[in-house]
């Protein structure tokens, strides 16, 4: 089995190339000794090869975890062939890494990618001249449009391994990269970059920059909230129909078996999917479009100042945005933060941004108790509160437990690209669907079984009573607190569990709570407010906790991630309780 490794700078379309080659035949593995995962896969058109996607790095001499991983991998000679992926529009800089790699091994194929964008911007790359200069095969591609892929596969197949003794000596990569680029790249005089410059000016301008950003986020939240309603309802109808069908099939089985499987596992799992999938299927493609266009670094550019004052950096703002869709994704996204302490602070506070799964709770309570201000607005306010909480907590952490020397911040601002909307929609939809389905099965299903068992005993009622004193201090009650605890597997389950306990059933019913039902159960305005506050500021869900454990490798840090938002929520609720 031969191995091909994809190396290259960030933002060169390496991942797109990897996805194009492997399709869905990939998984994230663990490279020995590292906690960061490396994606591996196989390609139908390249039988007998494993393809490894190394993290994007600017050089092999950097100190960040990604860079050390890439450098070690290349030095280990584990790959039979390394494909260095470059961006045709900034070949000069990309060649620095290429030459550094060539200093270590000659088993390299150069893939100059994003040629469609480069040509649009007036760049011409002379592949033959590059081959001559570097002494390795060079392929020009546009992976997004599947251009040049055949040639790349051929180059890999025809590659003859070069023994280490024959490695050509390269001097100073920086100067050499400049010389080579000068010989092999030309740019036409009337390159139409004008609109990109103007757009950049507008997006980071003093007056319009931040308002535009807030507007974009509001639009995304609004589209997520309102767009998800119809698909969610459709899914629930579909699953209801499924319920009836399955119930028929399960007639011959003993009651408790049907009970666990149907009312426990099926009801909970389908509930999670119906509630969770539509918003995520809207949010993440939209977010990925922003990323593809190149807007996100501009957002970090605008927010770095405020984040820096809290001991963080602009990139943390991006992870908070990701957390808006799903906190587990936000936590994984913290890899883009270089400083280990800043990264940890970002991981610990990410759950303070309410994820898609908490939107339904917030909208419901917001509209029932606080006059129908519009679901999106309520969510937006809660998001702002969450972000402020995260920033404040990061600030406190950076002055106490995670005190660190001021770190440096350096980030590339890539040129704006035309987003490949079709491809994004398909890939994002697929990714999200698989993720949610996987999570539903692994986390919600067992939870559902457990809930059904508990619901059939008197335990829930008893536990609720036990938790009443604590609940009251927090402005809520025992039922709500118990529901929070039981919705650890998935935040979407909060209101369904509350309804389940209040109606005394053992099934997660699809009964929508109304104002009267909750008032009859003793809720007040304060109860709703505290529940919403605690929904924003409480422990991360099980999936997020598992992700934190994987990313940090430490049980202590995971425990801190559990306690930190909870403490904030507890303090806030107690204060509200005292004041109101």
């Amino acid at each position: 089995m031969k191995t091909v490794a994809l190396a290259g700078n960030p933002n060169v379309g390496k991942s797109t190339l990897f996805n194009t080659l492997t399709g869905l035949r990939q998984h994230t593995g663990n490279w020995p000794g590292k906690t960061v995962g490396v994606a591996q896969g196989t390609a139908r058109k390249l039988p007998g090869y494993t393809i490894v996607d190394l993290p994007g790095t600017y050089s092999l001499e950097g100190a960040s975890e990604d860079e050390r991983l890439a450098a070690e991998y290349i030095a280990s000679d584990e790959a039979d062939c390394i494909v260095v992926v470059c961006d045709g529009s900034c070949l000069e800089r990309n060649l620095i890494l290429t030459l550094q790699i060539l200093q270590r091994t000659q088993n390299v194929v150069l893939c100059v990618n994003l040629m469609d964008e480069a040509e649009r911007r007036g760049f011409r790359v002379d592949g033959a001249a590059l081959e001559e200069q570097l002494g390795i095969p060079v392929v020009l591609t546009a992976a997004g449009r599947r251009r040049g892929i055949q040639e790349l596969l051929e180059a890999i197949r025809n590659h003859v391994p070069v023994p280490p003794e024959q490695v050509r000596a390269w001097d100073d990569p920086v100067q050499r990269a400049s010389q080579i680029a000068e010989k092999c790249v030309t740019r036409s005089a009337n390159a139409n970059d004008g609109w990109r410059v103007v757009l950049d000016r507008v997006l980071v301008s003093r007056r319009r920059g931040i308002p535009i950003m807030l507007l974009l986020l509001l639009v995304i939240v609004w589209l997520t909230v309102s767009g998800a309603n119809i698909p969610s309802a459709m899914l629930e109808r579909l699953f209801s129909a499924g319920y009836s069908v399955l119930k028929g099939w399960m007639e011959p089985l003993p009651l408790w078996v049907a009970g666990i499987l149907l009312d426990g596992v099926y009801a909970t799992t389908t509930r999670v999917i119906a509630v969770m999938l539509p918003p995520m299927a809207i949010f993440f493609p939209l977010f990925t479009i922003l990323e593809d266009v190149g807007y996100l670094p501009r957002m970090a550019f605008l927010l770095d100042r405020s984040m820096y004052r809290c001991g963080g950096c602009g990139k943390q703002a991006l992870t908070l945005c990701m957390g808006l869709g799903c906190n587990a994704v936000g936590v994984t996204g913290c890899r883009i933060i270089d400083s280990p302490r800043e990264r940890l602070a970002a991981i610990l506070t990410n759950a303070m941004v309410p994820c898609n799964g908490r939107f339904p709770t917030l909208i419901l309570l917001g509209s029932l108790f606080f006059a129908d201000a519009g679901g999106a607005l309520v969510v937006a306010l809660c998001v702002i509160a969450g972000v402020l909480g995260a920033m404040l907590t990061t600030g406190i952490l950076s002055k106490t437990a995670l005190r660190h020397e001021k770190s440096t911040f350096i980030m590339e601002l890539p040129p704006f690209r035309r987003p490949r909307i079709g491809q994004i929609l398909v890939r994002s939809l697929l990714d999200r669907t698989l993720f949610v389905a996987g999570r539903a099965v692994s986390v919600a299903a067992p939870a559902g079984a457990g809930l059904w068992l508990l619901g059939n005993t008197e335990i829930l009622g008893a536990l609720a009573q036990l938790l009443d004193p604590v609940g009251s201090i927090l402005g809520m009650n025992g039922v709500i607190l118990l529901a929070f605890l039981l919705s650890l597997p998935a935040n979407e389950l909060l209101m369904p569990i509350i309804m389940m306990i209040l109606t005394g059933s053992s099934v997660l019913t699809g009964v929508e709570p109304t104002g009267q039902m909750l008032l009859a159960a003793g809720w007040t305005l304060e109860t709703a407010l505290c529940t919403m506050i605690f929904s924003v500021f409480h422990w991360p869900c099980a999936t997020t906790l598992l992700t934190i454990r994987k990313e940090t490798g430490s049980n202590a840090k995971t425990a801190a991630a559990f306690l930190l938002p909870t403490a904030v929520g507890g303090i806030l609720c107690a204060m509200v309780n005292l004041l109101l």
Binding site: Y58, S59, E61, G62, A63, S89, C90, L91, E92, R93, I96, V174, Q175, A177, S178, V197, D200, R201, V204, S205, R206, G209, I210, P297, A300, F301, L302, D304, R305, Y308, G314, T408, F409, I410, M411, E412, L413, P414, P415
Partner: protein, 77 residues
């Protein structure tokens, strides 16, 4: 006329003359190809004036201006 990079204004083009040890970003800037002799173009600053977008070797990078101390450059005419 030599200036320190942190004093660069939007729209200015300069050539780097020397990078002293004072600078905290040295290694990372080198990865992007910033060495003595490199041409830089300051594209714009952030609204608060704390970050600068610098173009070098076809790439635009965002750097905190206070991290640019210790790098000297000569204005291009």
């Amino acid at each position: 006329m030599e200036i320190m990079l942190c004093d660069m204004k939007p729209g200015e083009r300069v050539v780097v003359t020397k990078i002293t040890d004072e600078n905290s970003l040295k290694g990372r800037l080198r990865e992007f190809g910033m060495v003595p002799g490199t041409e830089l173009h300051c594209r714009y600053l952030s609204p608060g004036g704390d970050l600068a977008a610098l173009e070098l070797r076809g790439t635009v990078i965002a750097v905190r201006r206070k991290d640019l101390t210790g790098i000297y450059a000569r204005r291009c005419v």
